[in-house]
Symmetry: C2
Subunit: 304 residues, 2 copies
């Protein structure tokens, strides 16, 4: 099956630590890499977890609080030092363009590639782009400054014959359309290979939603309805619901409620306040409401 | 003896790696902390090496290439989250002030403390400040954009009686001036304590010079004449002297020549190009010219 794989580069909150860098996720859809938020040290984490920075096709920055983008300028600079040529799509709020340009100018540098700035809006579910393999949407979150979540939906894939099978068997040309239309393959010795075993196909497209920083908002569940993997911030434990509301953040149970309402398959929570040395308190609170809850940590990989 | 201690937070060059973050040094002079350059991840390294960020009294940024300051905005933001109140002195080139202000504004934040911007000039040895315990100077380096090195000179310390001795002995009041003027102390039982053993004094003030990024320039040796500890970049091995010149950087031997000419006691080299997996080549080349050469690495502490 083609890749649909999430790597968490940073799972911490406002102040990065050696154990938990600030928010940054990389989603690999069929070999195409998308970076979602880019906290300080994201490029260092990419080296650590073997993510090739110049393979990133687009970057999505949810909002302009530093723990979600202070690593971006360093990454853009390193892409330049690595002689990137391919245009980079950046989805963000203003004035991130000015912030980047000012720093590039101060270094008296001209980047080796072009950045295309695409500005986010907070008007409901907005399609950001549509490629052969994925559609990406933004949706508004409730935070102290303009903030968006992102939804990645895999497109239905046409069938393809497993590469390994093609390599190991001498398949006559005329058999390819038959196999792709659903027939079993019979080789020259009369061996029968079931179509299911030799063909890749994806009945249920996979999807990933990322909710960086947000107060509890049931609308988020609508935007993410039916998502396979949902990341939702859970800065605080339930006893600090008032603090969460005041700071436009969520509790563990609130994240779990959104997962339940959206009928997600799996919930990842992260962006934990540094006050929690042991995160199991937050995980357990979420699990009471949504059993399939997993803790985000730096270096964690989810393959769907 | 009072502290005069250097901690290296980042010893790498343009592209940070998990093993070597970009340039950042912390100098502790008698308990007062000074941060010199602030590459990406410096605040994370501070947590790792137990440097208290809110104890930093002033920050010196040598120039506006990202590997020397991309960690600054994150650190300033975390100082705010830690509720710093004390004014912070920042020594830098323009437009670092604009770069910082734009990012603080984008986050809709007002810092809990004031930053005082002090702009560097490239006109020879310039005294930046003068406190009870240290004088700090800037001096020009030769780089692609305006760039300064920094020289920290400890002030001559007046004598003081060792705290431990005062605590453990009942010293009559009238003895204090006598001991401080050089007399041995005789207690009530007639025991004699040699002045040398009970008094702290610093005959030779300690000093540290930091040369971040520079082409080979003999004037640097004049600015740093007689320095105890010299940090000089050594981006390249000797066979790449032409590349070093073209990129306004130095080779290992050039760093060593500056150490020899300035009659430094010890040379630290760092800012190694990532092409050198093993840094011993560069260390050995420097040692041929200046024996007392040490490799900079992340977390290294030098106590003078």
């Amino acid at each position: 099956m083609s890749d649909f794989k999430l790597t968490i580069l940073g799972s911490g909150s406002a102040m990065p630590t050696p154990e938990r860098f600030s928010s940054a996720h990389v989603l690999n859809v069929h070999g195409h890499l998308y970076l979602i938020d880019c906290g300080e040290g994201a490029q260092i984490a990419m080296k650590k977890y073997n993510i090739k920075m110049n393979k990133i096709e687009a970057i999505f920055i949810s909002h302009l609080h530093g723990d979600h983008y202070f690593g971006l300028i360093g990454l853009l600079n390193s892409m330049h030092l690595n002689n990137r040529k391919k245009e980079l799509n950046l989805y963000c709020f203003k004035p991130l363009d000015d912030i980047i340009k000012l720093q590039i100018e101060a270094a008296n540098t001209q980047l080796s590639y072009k950045i295309k700035y695409n500005y986010l809006s907070e008007e409901g579910l907005v399609k950001l782009f549509d490629s052969k393999h994925v559609e990406v949407f933004s949706f508004p979150l409730i935070h102290r400054i303009p903030c968006c979540g992102f939804l990645f939906k895999e497109k239905k894939q046409s069938r393809n014959i497993k590469k390994e099978f093609v390599k190991n068997h001498n398949i006559p040309k005329e058999w390819f359309p038959k196999i792709l239309s659903g027939q079993d393959f019979i080789d020259e010795n009369g061996n029968v290979f079931s179509n299911n075993e030799i063909v890749n196909f994806q009945l249920n497209p996979r999807s990933y939603a990322y909710c960086s920083d947000t107060a509890y908002d049931e609308k988020v569940a609508d935007y993410c309805m039916g998502v396979k993997l949902l990341y939702h911030e859970a800065s605080f434990a339930d006893d600090l619901e008032d603090v969460a509301k005041e700071k436009f953040h969520s509790t563990a149970s609130q994240a779990a409620l959104i997962a339940r309402k959206s009928k997600a398959e799996t919930l990842i929570i992260g962006h934990f306040s540094n006050r929690y040395k042991d995160k199991s308190l937050l995980i357990n609170q979420a699990k009471q409401i949504f059993e399939s809850t997993i803790e985000a940590y730096d270096g964690k990989v989810f393959e769907l």
